[in-house]
Symmetry: C2
Subunit: 128 residues, 2 copies
DNA sequence: CAGTATCCCCTAAGATACTG
DNA sequence: CAGTATCTTAGGGGATACTG
């Protein structure tokens, strides 16, 4: 595809709203090769609090991208996995991942070139 | 590509931070077939205020994705265009656009299915 | 027309602590 | 371990009005 419709179409905005939450794409990506438990996700991702992870998962769940499977037990045992719909998002996300690796440095260079604004570094990242 | 590196790599977060601003991708997309003046962009996009558009353009400029060309005159005449770097982002963005058209309805359906949370409809969109 | 200046609001996201 | 409860803050984004 390469039409030019979606500025008019709200579904496009909808898609971008999905990405406009800092952690959504990251969490989806972290689920790319199979269901994971919250602890695992937090390890994998790094720098995300339990609370924010839960919120993110709920959000993804609400949008039909993620499934929650709880197996009653104590200590609790839960895992989250991608729905078929969620899986369809991996390719586009991957495209961005690839882009980041190819062009990330150029972005950083551009930022350095324009030091002053100082404000624009992406939100404070937790870990290195 | 389809590796699994970028959770560890900050450049990935960097890429997603680019998208985590509501209007960034939309504006980039609106520039996809050539430089445009702010007025034109606002028409094309719809629902974006002058202020927010400027902010967005500044942000994209700062990240090396957009170029500003001002031709002294009055009334002022300015246009913004994609840099080569910015152009490299079109493909990934396009992937999302395509996704939105293919799967947008499924997301909406999922949302309706889980009415209650009510909070998750993407941020209030201006026009339909 | 391009852009800035205000003012306001809302909420995402962080930190911390607690429960079943 | 999964998840919730609080509290706080920063800043994105909207509305409006104004200037060169």
């Amino acid at each position: 595809m390469t039409a030019e419709p979606f500025l008019a179409d709200c579904r496009a905005r909808l898609a971008f709203d999905l990405l406009s939450h800092t952690w959504n794409a990251v969490v989806l990506w972290a689920l790319r090769d199979g269901p994971r438990r919250p602890v695992e996700l937090r390890e994998r991702i790094g720098g995300i609090s339990s609370k924010v992870l839960t919120e993110t998962l709920r959000r993804l769940e609400f949008n039909g991208l993620v499934d929650r499977h709880a197996r009653p037990a104590s200590p609790p045992r839960v895992d989250y996995g991608l729905t078929p719909l969620g899986r369809t998002l991996l390719a586009p996300i991957d495209a961005f991942g690839a882009w980041a690796f190819e062009h990330g440095d150029e972005v950083l260079a551009a930022q350095d070139a324009t030091r002053p604004p100082a404000s624009e570094e992406p939100r404070p990242h937790p870990g290195p």
